[in-house]
């Protein structure tokens, strides 16, 4: 009997072969298959984001208290919070925030509605696509804030010019998102609608528009952020009230604690808008798997 024979026998009984077995023995040893899968799949981890915020704030506060971070360079979070508290107490917060929110809501809503309408037209009519798409491509990359002086001449120094800046800023990304969304609607669904004799308007309303909704909503996310950026920029150029005006004033007085409070308000606005759009997405797109 040869060595390889014995090892074959051993493996047949399910026993691993001995240490000094023949080359064949290594092949018969039982080993678990190495795991190579997993990963590449984001899972929801709660509270970590909050924790990161908290840790940074605590370190920052500690640095300021101990003098590692000079107050001239960067005020402590507690000071910024104190400035914020004063804003609340004097009632200035609502005046600034109210003015800003009004501009934001009016401008963004108008920009979104017009953008969706024009985007649908571009998606549905070849003539509109041929005529308007180059125009959109030409106007989209222009920083709208550069046009503010023109808007002031056209729409007045008051609310008009600021709303117009936000409107134009949110209009173009919405047009592009909507027309792209319409292009991506499953044509077999449209053919189904036609085969059942649905009217053109029914097909647009019940098939095209819901089908383009995911793209429209992700466009809304982008245009909302652009709207906030433009809001502040427009308010910095000429406004009595508004978060942007407040930040500008604080900056020119070197009241860095107030400046930070203002910036924090902007952050919070961005977070809240993002959260609201997330809720809208979850509700409007609950049919998605």
């Amino acid at each position: 009997m040869t060595l390889s024979d014995t090892s074959a026998k051993a493996s047949a009984h399910g026993e691993p072969a001995g240490g000094e077995a023949s080359p064949g023995a290594a092949d018969t040893r039982l080993q678990p298959v190495p795991f190579r899968g997993g990963g590449f799949r984001p899972v929801r981890v709660r509270f970590v984001g909050l924790l990161v915020f908290a840790v940074i704030l605590v370190l920052w506060e500690a640095g300021s208290q101990s003098g590692v971070i000079s107050n001239l360079v960067l005020p402590a979070p507690s000071e910024a919070f104190e400035a914020f508290r004063q804003l609340v107490e004097t009632g200035q917060l609502w005046r600034h925030l109210g003015a800003s929110l009004q501009r934001l809501i009016v401008g963004w809503t108008l920009g979104m509605s017009l953008g969706v309408a024009v985007g649908l037209m571009i998606g549905l009519f070849s003539l509109a696509r041929a005529g308007l798409m180059p125009l959109v491509s030409a106007l989209f990359p222009i920083p709208k804030i550069a046009l503010l002086p023109l808007f002031v001449i056209w729409f007045g120094i008051g609310e008009g010019s600021k709303v117009a800046t936000i409107l134009f800023g949110s209009f173009f990304p919405t047009v592009i998102a909507t027309s792209g969304g319409v292009d991506n609607v499953d044509r077999s669904l449209v053919r189904m609608g036609q085969s059942f004799g649905l009217s053109w308007w029914s097909i647009v309303r019940k098939i095209i528009l819901p089908g383009a909704m995911p793209a429209i909503l992700s466009g809304a996310r982008i245009s909302a952020s652009i709207a906030i950026i433009l809001l502040v920029a427009a308010e910095m150029i000429g406004a009595e009230y508004g978060v942007g005006a407040f930040i500008l004033m604080a900056g020119s007085l070197f009241a860095t604690d107030q400046l930070l409070a203002g910036v924090a308000i902007l952050s919070a606005m961005g977070l809240i808008v993002g959260w609201l759009i997330g809720r809208a997405e979850r509700w409007l797109l609950r049919w998605r798997s």
């Binding site: 004799g197 019940k206 049919w287």
Partner: protein
């Protein structure tokens, strides 16, 4: 209502896809159209339903559609074509909404049609929650809701696995026995054709022409069991199609030489 095709021919660019198709579909009859892939059978179905126009020839309807028919020529698609954002009842409702029915009438039709296809329990489910077989049942319910004169079925079972396909074939046989619907049924599956067709139209390779029309006079209900005659028909059909594929092979070789 009968359906009549006369001399239907069509070109896509320079290639002729269909040539001189003459065909009659009688009331209460299931006509299966089979042929090798690319022979224009789906195109033919689109002509019949008025979704596309043939270059030559005509598609005619004889007689009035049955009373209360909302959409005489109604498709069942291979990919189901359900709106993912509408529930089962919403998907059926979609095709009733443009016909000026009252909400109560619509609800009545939906309940009736879902009961007939045993889908009542799934009324509020979304398409993503349904298996492929259930999705196609919903699509069939949707087609029935508009009381079609002719159902145009474009490979309705091709996207399903073979077990589900068997189940749905049983459903269709049962449905036909109850409702005697008229259908044009395009498929590349010979077993389906032999099981469901009263008439089987065999198309040739491109340009698609009618090679042969096989009539099977056995009642649909009696086709369940293994049957030597049906098996023989299926074998003959396969022979025809295999020859077509071979012929196409040779054609291609001739072309390049």
């Amino acid at each position: 209502m009968d359906l009549l095709l006369r001399g239907v021919s069509h070109m896509y660019g320079d290639t002729q896809v269909l040539r001189d198709i003459d065909l009659a579909v009688g009331e209460g009859e299931i006509v299966c159209i089979i042929g090798p892939s690319g022979c224009g059978k789906s195109t033919l179905l689109r002509f019949i339903g008025g979704l596309e126009r043939p270059d030559a020839g005509e598609v005619l309807l004889a007689g009035a559609p049955p009373a209360g028919s909302l959409n005489p020529l109604t498709y069942v698609f291979q990919d189901f074509a359900l709106l993912p954002w509408r529930t089962v009842e919403g998907n059926v409702s979609l095709v009733l909404e443009d016909h000026g029915l009252s909400a109560a009438e619509r609800r009545g039709i939906i309940d009736d049609v879902l009961a007939r296809t045993s889908l009542s329990d799934f009324k509020t489910a979304l398409p993503r929650q349904l298996s492929g077989g259930m999705k196609q049942r919903v699509a069939i319910a949707r087609a029935l809701s508009v009381r079609p004169a002719v159902m145009l079925m474009d490979e309705p079972l091709s996207a399903l696995d073979s077990q589900t396909r068997e189940l749905l074939m049983d459903d269709l046989v049962g449905l036909w026995q109850r409702e005697r619907f008229t259908a044009c049924y395009v498929t590349h599956n010979l077993a389906e054709a032999v099981r469901l067709g009263h008439k089987i139209v065999v198309l040739s390779r491109r340009p698609g022409r009618i090679r042969e029309i096989v009539e099977i006079d056995r009642d649909l209900a009696d086709r369940q069991q293994a049957d030597a005659k049906l098996d023989a028909i299926q074998r003959d059909l396969w022979q025809l199609l295999r020859d077509e594929a071979r012929a196409a092979d040779r054609e291609l070789a001739d072309d390049t030489v």
